[in-house]
């Protein structure tokens, strides 16, 4: 029997006496797509960084095709046939797609001159083989985030590695692009590559992986074939206790109209959006990346200029020209990109929580530091945010807790309408559930939730009604009984 592509046993790693990884075990065979599952803090990142040679290990064995190996840098790991697709993008914006793919190893043609023709040709062949519809001569800065991610994937695959690690590869992809990725994965699998697939999105695990390994609290808990496990069992394995329901939904929509949009236009081709949201309702906006859903939120919240149309809040026509005015009208916006537009990572938990409420937490220009501390404490308790001291930087929190800090900031403004753009992206199963609980409770108390989501499960689980956007317009509306993944996707595409 041929040796496994990768075999890891008893991997351990401590930081300052605290074990981040107690027993990392993993096996990967050729032609296998193995999902590495676990909540935040389960040790996945530590495990991957050791395998890739970013950090040294304290103990344990890594065998590559039967040979014990120790990589001292990602370069060594790559030379030995392991490459990784990072969660964070690192493009050089002013260079072309081909230049980015072959950055640092450009083909040359005498005297160190770069052979652009060969580079473009190779890049084209690579992109074609993956069925990615991207011109290698395009500049990176002209691509959408989704396409950038596809280029990043192509770059990792260009090394022709035997093992490819994908860390949340779909976090920036729309449904269509994600499908392209899944096709590429199937191709790679057929070519006998081994893929380690890391994601919080369980639906993807069941879509692309054929087997799984679960880590919890830094240790291996179990592994097996995807065909032999149910979604609920997998969740239970990840969380370590039984979950009753994945979604929490106790609200009943009322008749009173909270927000009404008539003929709203926005930048990037969002045209003539009509929308009505009621008190006590959770309204989903479903659509692919680039369908205009985020732009719609930006317009409602006053982040872009008025391009025509009418916004009525509680029946009264209102002009919203800045986020400050939007907040004054009882709106709150949780953006999709937590690190880019949500949190101020250099600031403390407390400052992040108080940020949208400063005027009410002081007297004139002066801040009332005691009031700030009290408000921050109230939100930390309300949302069960795990933080030692609220003066610690918010960057020290896990993804789920960071998202709850953003929610805390907005609940402090006592909003009537919550705009949530992909509220559960990048948070683990347990924290997701807490966020669903927050949404449900808010709607039960008469609030209005408008949620953008590209996960059909989430829309079906949480929404009273869903609007589907396509090319900047409303392509259709589905009431709760009509909601199905098939209908959502077919309206969106």
């Amino acid at each position: 029997m041929a040796a496994d592509l990768l075999e890891v046993e008893g991997l351990t790693k401590s930081f300052g006496g605290i074990a981040a990884l107690k027993d990392g075990r993993f096996r990967l065979q050729a032609g296998q797509v193995k999902a590495l599952c676990g909540g935040n803090g389960a040790g996945k990142s530590t495990f991957l960084s050791i395998v890739m040679g970013i950090q040294p290990r304290d103990g344990g064995v890594i065998r590559r095709a039967g040979r014990p190996v120790t990589y001292r840098s990602p370069r060594e790991a790559r030379a030995d046939g392991i490459s990784i697709i990072e969660q964070e993008l690192s493009p050089v914006p002013a260079m072309s797609v081909a230049e980015n793919i072959y950055l640092g190893r450009e083909p040359t043609a005498g005297f160190g001159r770069i052979d652009f023709r060969k580079m473009n040709r190779d890049a084209q062949a690579l992109l074609d083989s993956l069925h990615f519809d991207i011109d290698p001569r395009t500049l990176m800065m002209d691509l959408t985030v989704g396409k950038l991610q596809l280029v990043e994937i192509a770059r990792a695959l260009s090394h022709d590695s035997e093992i490819i690690i994908m860390d949340e590869p779909t976090s920036a992809l729309g449904e269509a692009e994600a499908d392209q990725l899944f096709e590429a994965i199937a191709t790679l699998k057929a070519r006998g590559k081994g893929i380690i697939y890391v994601t919080h999105r369980l639906s993807e695990v069941f879509e692309v992986a054929d087997s799984y390994t679960v880590f919890r609290d830094g240790a291996f808990v179990g592994e097996g074939a995807i065909a032999d496990i149910t979604r609920d069992d997998l969740i239970q394995m990840i969380v370590g206790r039984p979950l009753t329901e994945e979604f929490i939904k106790e609200n009943v929509p009322g008749d009173e109209i909270a927000l009404e949009l008539r003929g709203i236009n926005s930048v990037k081709g969002v045209r003539g959006i009509d929308l009505t949201a009621h008190r006590g309702e959770i309204l989903a906006v479903f659509g692919l990346m680039g369908s205009g859903r985020t732009e719609l939120f930006e317009r409602i919240f006053g982040l872009v200029r008025d391009q025509g149309g009418e916004i009525r809040i509680g029946g009264a026509a209102t002009a919203i020209r800045s986020p400050g005015q939007a907040i004054g009208k009882g709106l709150a916006l949780v953006t999709e990109d937590r690190k880019g537009t949500g949190l101020v990572l250099t600031a403390s938990v407390r400052d992040n929580i108080c940020m949208a409420r400063l005027k009410k937490l002081g007297l004139g220009p002066m801040m009332n530091i005691r009031a700030e501390a009290k408000a921050s404490r109230r939100m930390i308790d309300l949302f069960n945010i795990k933080t030692g001291n609220d003066r610690d930087p918010v960057s020290s929190l896990s993804g789920g807790n960071q998202q709850k800090v953003v929610l805390g900031r907005w609940f402090l403004t006592e909003p009537a309408i919550l705009l949530l753009d992909e509220p559960t992206r990048g948070v683990d199963v347990g924290a997701k559930r807490e966020i669903y609980r927050i949404m449900s409770d808010f709607a039960v108390q008469g609030g209005t939730v408008i949620m953008i989501s590209s996960e059909t499960d989430e829309v079906i689980g949480m929404a009273d009604r869903a609007l589907v956007m396509r090319d900047g317009r409303i392509a259709g509306e589905l009431a709760r009984p009509e909601l199905s993944a098939k209908r959502l996707v077919s309206l969106a595409a």
Binding site: G17, G39, T341, G342, D351, M366, M367, D428
Partner: protein
């Protein structure tokens, strides 16, 4: 809540307590290193030179530091918002000559009807400084020109305006009332030092206890997130340049008052010392992180080192070399700590 999140935070809390000694020491040094360096240098100088600790010399150091210190405090606001103000040296001269022209007894340099009361002259200089800053601020915040470029333009333009205004000549013979802010004292403490202390306390309060201060940190840390949170990012950016310009004007007037005349060449390269004090004081050029107390220590460190080298009779050229080393060393220390995190 899921068990693993509990564990993460428990682990993190434990890590705080159990950090190994090296990390702890590095943290401590990065946090208090500059203060420690300042104290060590002072102790060394006190042992090596009996004159160093004399009241006269201490007041001398403080007075010499005050102009750079005032500029550096304004610069702290700007750098906290990811900006830079290269124009402060030129604004020192511009505000100096305009203000001085209202307070001179020289008939050739005076504005018709002068000399005017010192307070009016001071108000004019402050207004000139704030207006220059406002131009910087509008160009940066409204027209999205990088701060480096906008204030580089002002560095040149304000110097040119200074020369045009004063006809290329110094403005001499300032009134005694006006000179009080440079040469007078309050209970034995030189006025420049008194003003520096007041500016420091005010800046410390503004950054630490006002809404504007919170906005400065948020805008510098993440302007996009600040915008979404309803903070007026443009106005905050504009205001920090107005503050920096106003303080540069104030510094220019103190300088003129101290020397008795406003020179058109005053303040050349002052922006570099101000930036140095801010950076040595631990404020990040990436924005959002830093304190005005750090800047105070940074400015004092530069002042003490210059003074110490003077006392030891070291050639002034060495002072520049040492200052260069200090700036880079301070940032390296900061980086070392960031990497560990």
């Amino acid at each position: 809540m899921p068990a693993d999140e509990d564990l993460t935070s428990a682990r993190r809390a434990a890590a705080e307590d159990n950090r190994d000694w090296g990390t702890y020491a590095l943290d401590w040094v990065a946090k208090y290193g500059i203060l420690l360096a300042l104290i060590l240098i002072c102790v060394g100088l006190a042992i090596g030179n009996e004159y160093f600790l004399s009241t006269r010399n201490i007041l001398n150091v403080l007075r010499q530091t005050s102009i750079n210190g005032i500029l550096a405090i304004g610069m702290t606001f700007v750098i906290l918002t990811r900006g830079i103000d290269l124009s402060v040296g030129s604004v020192v001269a511009f505000a100096g000559v305009v203000s001085a022209s209202l307070a001179t007894t020289s008939s050739t340099a005076m504005v018709a009807g002068g000399p005017y009361p010192a307070l009016l002259a001071l108000a004019a200089g402050l207004a000139v400084g704030m207006a220059s800053g406002a131009v910087n601020g509008v160009i940066v915040s409204r027209f999205a020109v990088p701060a480096f470029v906008a204030t580089l333009g002002m560095l040149s333009a304000a110097r040119g305006l200074t020369l045009l205004y004063a006809g290329g000549r110094p403005v001499p013979a300032l009134t005694p009332e006006y000179r009080f802010i440079g040469t007078g004292d309050l209970f034995g403490i030189p006025m420049p030092v008194v003003i520096f202390a007041l500016v420091f306390l005010l800046a410390w309060w503004v950054l630490g206890a006002t809404r504007f201060g919170r906005n400065v940190y948020a805008v510098g840390g993440n302007p996009h997130a600040a915008t979404v949170a309803g903070i007026n990012v443009r106005r905050t950016r504009l205001m920090v340049y107005v503050i920096s310009g106003g303080l540069a004007g104030l510094a220019g007037m103190i300088l003129a008052a101290r020397t008795g005349s406003a020179l058109t060449q005053a303040g050349i390269a002052y922006e570099l010392d101000a930036i140095a004090a801010v950076v040595i004081g631990g404020t990040s050029l990436a924005g959002g992180v830093g304190r005005v107390t750090g800047t105070l220590i940074g400015a004092l460190l530069i002042g003490v080192v210059n003074n110490g080298l003077d006392l030891m009779g070291v050639e002034s050229y060495y002072q520049q070399v040492i200052k260069g080393v200090l700036i880079v060393a301070a940032v390296m220390l900061d980086q070392a700590r960031n990497r560990r995190e």
